[in-house]
Structure formats: structure tokens, C-alpha cells
Symmetry: C2
Amino acid sequence: LEQIDPDVPSPGIVIPILNWLGTTQMFWDSDLGKSIETIAYSLYRKPNAALEARADAIIDMYEKLQAPDGYLNSFFQRIKPEWQWTNLRDFHELYCAGHMIEGAVAYYQATGKRKFLDVMCRMADHCVKKFGRGPGQVRGYCGHEEIELALVKLARVTGRQDYMDLAKFFVDERGQTPNFFVEEARAHGRDPKGVQKSTLEYNQSHLPVREQAKVVGHAVRAMYLYAAMADLATEYNDDSLTAALETLWADLTRKQMYITGGIGPAAANEGFTDHYDLPNDSAYAETCASVGLVFWASRMLGRGPDRLYADILEQALYNGAITGLSLDGKTFFYDNPLESSGKHHRWTWHPCPCCPPNIARLVASLGSYIYQVADDEIAVHLFAESEARVELANGARFTLRQETDYPWSGDISIAIDPEVPARFAVSLRVPAWAREARLMVNGQPVDPGAVGAEGYIRIEREWTKGDSLAMTLPLEPRLLRAHPAVRQDAGRVAIMRGPLVYCLEGADNGAGLNSVLLRHGLGAAQTATIPDLRGAIAIDLPVLRESGESWGEALYAEKAPETEPGQARLVPYHLWDNRAPGEMLVWLRQAAE
Amino acid sequence: LEQIDPDVPSPGIVIPILNWLGTTQMFWDSDLGKSIETIAYSLYRKPNAALEARADAIIDMYEKLQAPDGYLNSFFQRIKPEWQWTNLRDFHELYCAGHMIEGAVAYYQATGKRKFLDVMCRMADHCVKKFGRGPGQVRGYCGHEEIELALVKLARVTGRQDYMDLAKFFVDERGQTPNFFVEEARAHGRDPKGVQKSTLEYNQSHLPVREQAKVVGHAVRAMYLYAAMADLATEYNDDSLTAALETLWADLTRKQMYITGGIGPAAANEGFTDHYDLPNDSAYAETCASVGLVFWASRMLGRGPDRLYADILEQALYNGAITGLSLDGKTFFYDNPLESSGKHHRWTWHPCPCCPPNIARLVASLGSYIYQVADDEIAVHLFAESEARVELANGARFTLRQETDYPWSGDISIAIDPEVPARFAVSLRVPAWAREARLMVNGQPVDPGAVGAEGYIRIEREWTKGDSLAMTLPLEPRLLRAHPAVRQDAGRVAIMRGPLVYCLEGADNGAGLNSVLLRHGLGAAQTATIPDLRGAIAIDLPVLRESGESWGEALYAEKAPETEPGQARLVPYHLWDNRAPGEMLVWLRQAAE
């Protein structure tokens, strides 16, 4: 906070300059932005005067720090003013502004206080002047996308078209020729190729966005860009953007996504490599990247319910994102491998603290991902104990209350209470994996054939107080295999139950999880609650285990290992590493029998 | 060479100082030492005046550079004299001396010229004064073992017991308490834990050598240490050293060695990790480390023939070491993975050029690994076209000539031509994998039960001119499995033929090698010569291939991939990446049938 407060001396550079000539200290503002955003969501649900006062104090500092021309960034004002706007590619200035804007919008929505929003509008005004195609303006964009989706939020809450247009400008300019980052580097006497990881693919500026067909580079950057593209496609009804997004979506979910919804296998670029390259034990699959996938998927629903997006949203949320957080909420995974020899554990802190506030703001705002409204319709994308108070554009006002133990149970009760009887539609997602879902409206079964092409059952009627929906999703465990081109999963199977990926853990099964072979498919699988994981559901299965003892001392031999029958227990992947440390394995071997 | 020549100005630091406060420039002398050693072996076999003149010129420079007190190291004389003997742990001073001594010994043996040998004796004399347990002496040793085995060689060629004793001192002192490296760091004001990778395990100084039971740390360092220990165990008849070596040998070959004889799976420490941790695609398995294993194995034979060591020597030589070199001899592997997605290729050069001269000196001196003599016996450890001129301590003088196409063929003819009839024994190794080896002496079959406990057939008799041995080793391909604790090989098989590990390569089998499933074991395997790999033997097999096309677009699905029958070709692992670039795989899947 010393970095922000104009009343105390500048702390100078606390974190060393690295070989890309920057420091993670440059993005401190972004973490405060995310934190204020999280505080806002939390205040919205439950007032907390002390927390609010703390946020107000930080906002006061930022207001005081802001330059007369609207510029605001504590690092580039207090530590290195001479570096302002000199390196859009690496220095994260617009990225920080974006997270501050998201924080300001959320704080305004939660508290009604405009101060932070006004501060960030002045910064946005500064950017509107600075960036554009007009004379004297910079035709540039940020190396780490984020400002784009933030400006959309700001435009929506303020009604300011120029903010929306600036977001569109940043997206449209990206990857145009001549490449801005190459030109910028030359203009400042830097080697355009001289910086670590600084391929143009790394920040998705290698091609104009509408020509991009493969998901590349840093995973979080890619997700934030696509999220903004999806918002703009909706706002401008831009079919060329939508077409590019559909191509990128198919590329990601058909060729580059872990079964957990984890994305970006490589630590080297925190991002993507080749199609079908999904190593399990070295998977990077950063928590933030799955959070970003949730953001993107949610925005792909902006044009209407479609389980092509909502199914993946749920898969990434329950497996790729939530796994980042320990059950006690105190420790965090940054990378999320699908296999561990027992040495991978959650951190209490990290030198680049991006993931904790990111998963926090996602969890705190979960409500906005469950439901979505149109003029005369509410869509239920996710199933979770919740209550929504809704007013549709067509005038219908009602409360929708979900009661469910999902994802442990597949029974979901929904009570709909309009103040006065009202006509509107409720669209319920039927996940693609739920092949025999059943729905009853006020006790009357609905034809299962009512599932539409996009995977939703749409019930349009006049709703009156006391109306209820009862949906049952079958949660039998499923055996999944990966595309034969995924060499790391060759010959192996993964087990899912509902939206949850399961894994073997050392805590239940001892060491040597790769000696475990599944038998008889899943016919003999049984479920049980796990007392030390808050009543989560485990899957128990008969297995064979290869025996190391009977094998002997040789490392290599011309014989097959002997096997012994036994039982194995699978637990939900997102709950792993909450008990005794040990091995973990998602992709399992199968017995030949 | 500017660094050595005292007649030109010092070039200064050409290679930057890294975060361990050193630079690879510190070991340039060692590369020259290895190069002179290689030149020596080559001159021994075939004179080359130009090459010899070049070596002589370098030796002249070193003679001129040597300090009056015998000290010799071009970096610490010409570039950083103030750093002399200040950091035995990291600065490789004794290591460089060791390689120069090895070069000097080999050059003396090949050419009879004493100059370099005398120079290095003066350096060794300097070390004899400097290091020891006497007053004013340093009780230290080198962070990178090498001087120990070099001093043994120097002692053997000069008959100087003080050199042998210094080697023993270095080995005996290693890992004693208080730890020398900890004390040295403190004495120079450095943090004993402050240097990258500088655990005591990294350089095997964590325990006295006789108490070490697990092979740890940097693989090449470990091999050089154990090689010296084996020499000293022989020289001093030291059973406590032998016992430690047997424990370490079992640890390495039963828990930490790739089937290729590659060792040291991790790039991070260029060395060892946990027992049974043998990742295939990220295997480091440095070429130099397998060369070091050959050195160690060869010295374990110092107490007599034993295939426990000679089999591994052969396995590491043909698969772990030779693989480093391309067929045209121009490019080099540093790391030797057992699986590649197609991006791993040999280098033409490398910033740390240790492997090329190391593999070169091994190849150039191969003859000394094939045969070994005792007072009245010659052991044939390896099978290769070769001719040895031998004089035994019992007075027998003879020529032994091997004619064979091994390892492509299992037929080995050995002609023994004594000048006059003489009594001595010929011991022939029968590899453990060769279960039905046949041997004939002058056309008469030898009882197959004649294989001794150590795996050699010993033929003791009076040999006369024209005597011959004919051995036939069965080379049927073998299917091997790894210990069930090796998670990376779980459920997979590797194929060997004789001493050679085989692999699938993209050049023969296209992409997607993890979609290939072996059928029917090896019953239907056939061999064929490969014209574009100098007549090497390939193994052709019926397989099933999982089909990506019939699978469809989904990345994950509840179905098994369809398979199609086909043929696959396996080639010797050491020959991979000599044709069109592509995937490579050693550990193969098997069909369930």
C-alpha cells in the first residue's frame, strides 16, 4: 500500500527487475483491483462495515494519487514515472487499469458508492484520448488482455458508448500489420525478438483476431481476449467475431483442454503448446486459466442458452478452477496436474499472487454464472442451492429458489414465486452427459424429447405462486477415454460422475497408483460418502493391483507382473490434497480381461 | 586457445559469470584434456602427423604457462588468478587437472612423448603438497569428481604411490564431518546453502563414501567418483569400498537406470531423483553419464570377470552412450529421452560442450573395454571385430582375433594364435539374456553348463596356433517389462534384441506411436536389414493401431477407439533420429487380446 499512498515516500523497487526488464511489482494495482472486486461481491451478500471501510480507504488513496489528466497507476506514478506508456507489451499498464475498472464497477454495484467508479471513468477517459486511430493517438493495445472486457463492463454500467468503442478498438487493432509490438520495440530501441517468451503468439497479437483459428500463447491472456470478443460480438452483433470465437472454442475444447477443464499444459509460457499435447504429471493448467475459461464460456452464452458452452463452464468450474482452493480456503494451487507422485501441494503464498484473488472473485460472484435472463426468459445454467430475485424486461417479477445437494445428488427442486401470475419461460440446462434426465412441472412429467437443439428444456407458461420444477439428473459414474491422438492418455480411462472428474488418491489407496487396474468397467461401482471431505461422494470399485513384492529385485524382466484383486476408492478431483499428502492419478489403467 | 597461450594478452571473461559465481569457461582446460586424450587414442591406432603437431603445440603452451610451483590452469592463471583454490566446490580446478592428467597419460602411452606427462606430474606434485591431513595442508576435495580416477591412472603409469595415496585421500575425505564444502563456504564468507543446486548430495559429499547407499546428485560426478572408488578398491584390496560399491551398483541398476543404460532422469540437477522415477519423454539421461557408467562398470571388473557389471557395461555402451553420436559423427545428443514427440534432435554444438569429447574418447578407446587380462587369463567382455596382441604375466604371448557382425549377428569367431604353444585361460562372457548360447572349441561343442557363477565360460588349456572358438548367442527379440513401481512404464513393454534396445520411429511408422498396440507377443516378429541405416537389423511386427479418424471430433468420449490391424517396424534405439525427423517411442503398448 505504500506504493499507492501519495502521502508517504515512494518505496522504490521492492521486487527486482527481471530479464524482461519488468517486475511483478508492476501489477500490484491489478491485485488490489481484484481484491476490491471480491470485497464488493462479498458486501453484496453480507454487509461488513470494517471491510467496506478498508476498501474505502484504499479508494481514497487512489483518488488522491490520480493525476490531473486522469492517469492512474501507482507503479508508473510513484516508482518509475519515466516508464509510463513506454512498453505496452510487457508492462501491464492497461491490464492494471482493467482490473481496477472491474473492481470499481463491482464496488459501485454492491455499495452504490460512485467514487471509485468516477476515478476509473477518468482513467478510461484518459485512455479514450490516448488510444485510437486519430491524429496523435496511439494505435496500440495491451500485451496482457484485460482492459477490453473491463471497458465493456464499464460501458454497460455507465452507458458510455466511447468506452465500448475503445474496447472494440483494442480488439480490432490486435495483430494488425504492421504489428504494434514490433513497432513499439523498435521505437524504443529494443530488439523486437529480444525478450523472453515474447513471441507474438504469446500475447495473441500474431494475427488479427478474426483470423485466429488456433488457441495459442499465454492461457489467461487468451481467455481474457476471447471473453472480450464474446462480449463485443453480442454488443455489436458482430458475426465475424462470433465465427472466429466458434472456431477458437472448437480448437480449445476438442484439441487442447484437459478433462478437468484445465488449459495451457506448459509452464514455460503458462500456456498452450501443440494440439493433443496434454501431459498429466507436468500439466501447468493454471487455476487462473480455468477461471478465464469460465469467464469466456459465460460470455459465449450472451447470445442465448447453449450447453456447448454451459457444459464446459460447469466442467472448468468444478474441476479446473475450484481445485485451486483448499477445503479450508487457506491454500492455493497455481498449477493443476492430473497426476502427482506425491510432491505437489497447495501454496500458502506465491511470488506472483494472481490466482488467489482470481479464484476468490469467481467464487464470490458465482451467482451471476448460475442464471441468465433475457426479455421474457430465465435460463438456469448451473445447479446450486440458491435464490434469485428477478425482474424481466417483460415486467415479470419473481423469486426463483433452487434446493439441491448437487453435484452429490442429481435431484434439483426449483420453486418459482411470482408476485402476481406472469408469463415467461424457464430454460433448464440438461448436460450432454445426462442422457436420461427427468423433469416434472408441478408433479407432471415433461416429455424427455423436449430437450432443444442447444440442450435446454424450455418451459414457457404463466407461472403462479407455488409452482415448482423437479429435475433429476442421472449421476451414474461414467468411463471416459481421450482421443487416440492424446498420447499421454493412451489406453487409459478417466471416471466422471455428473460434472465431477474423479481421481485416485494415496490417502485412500496407498502408494503405486499406476499399479492399479480397473476391472469389469464400472458395473460394480458403488458410491459412499467420505466423512473427512464434508460428505462428498466417493466411488468404490473392484481393481487388480500389480504386486511389486512378487516381482523381485530386477528393474527389467521378461515376465508380466502378478496381480492381486482389491478395492480402490476414487474421490472428486477438486478435493484432492486436502488430506494426507500422497500420490494422485486421474487417468487410470484398465485390466485386459 | 587464447586463454592458454602466455604470449598473447588474456582474453578476459568471454562467457558470462552465472548465478553460481562461475562460468563454463572455467572448464575449458578439461575439454582440451579430453581432446588430447582422444587424439592420443586415435594416434595409437593410426598415425597423423598434423594432428600430433597440433597437440604438441597446445602442450607447449601449457608447459610455458605452468607456474614455477607446478600450478597449471589457464583460467585461474590468466583470467582470475585471485580466485585460485578459493572454491573447490564450484570452480572445477581439480576436475580440470584430472582431465589434463588423463590426456597426458594417454598421450604418453600413444606417442611415448613425456612432456605433457611431466607437466601434469608437476601439477600433481603441487596437489600432493597442497592437499592432505598434515599441518598447513587443505583437507578438501573437488566438487566435481574426476581428479581421483586420473591420479590412479597417473600413479599406474609412473609408479608413484603418492599419487595413488592422494586419490585415496580425496575419496576417503569426501563427506567427512565437518563437511569441507560447508567450512570452505563459511571461510570465504559465502552462504553454504546459497548456491543453485548446491546440496551436498549434488556432489556426493553428504556422507562418507563408505556410508553412501543411494546413488544421488549429478550423474556424471557420481559415476566418476564410483569409478575411482572401484580402482582404489582394487589397488588397496579395500573390502569396505567394494561393499559400498556393490550397494550403490545394486541401487543404480535395480532402481534408477533406464533400460537404455541411461541414468539421471532430471535436467534440473543433471542427475538422480527418486527410486523408480524414470520419465521417458523428459528423460535427461545425459550421454556423458552413460559414458561414466561404462567407466565405472569397466573398473568393477578389476577384481575379475562378472557379467553383473559387463552386461550393464554393454547395455549402457550400445544404448545410453553411442546414441549420443549421429551416424555421420557430426551431431550429438546431450539428453537421451526414451520418447519423443518429434522435436528432439542432435545438436551440432552446445554451450557446455562436455559430451562430444567424452563420447569421442570412449569410442576411440573402445578396445580397452573389450578385453581384460590377468596373470594367466584373458577375458572377452564384449564382442566386436577386433584384434588384440597380448602378453600375459605368465609369459604367454598371443594374438586374439574376433570376427563377428555382432550385434547384428550372434555368431562370433575367435582365432587364438600364440607364438609358441602356451597355457592360459580364455573367459568368454555369456550375457544373462543369452539363455542358449553355444560354444565350440576347435569345432567341438562345450557343455552349456560350463557357464560359471559370474556368467563367463572359462576355457583353460594349452593353446596352439590355429586354435579357434566359435560362439553363437541367440538374438531372438525379447519382450521386457519394468518393475511395477516404475509408473512411467506401467502396462508397457520394451523390445530388445541382444544388447540393443529397439524403438518405434516416425520415419517407419508415421505419427501417433502411442496408438500402436503390439499383438501376439513377439511370435510373429521378423527381422530385416535397413538399407538407409548401414545394414542395421530392424524388427517387423503385426500391430493394431487405434484410429483417430473413426473416433471423431470429441476430445473425451464414453467409447473405446476402433483399431485396425497393421505392421510396425522397430529399429535400434541408438540409431534413432538419423533419418527423417519424427516421433520415437521405446515403451510400447500391448493389445489386450
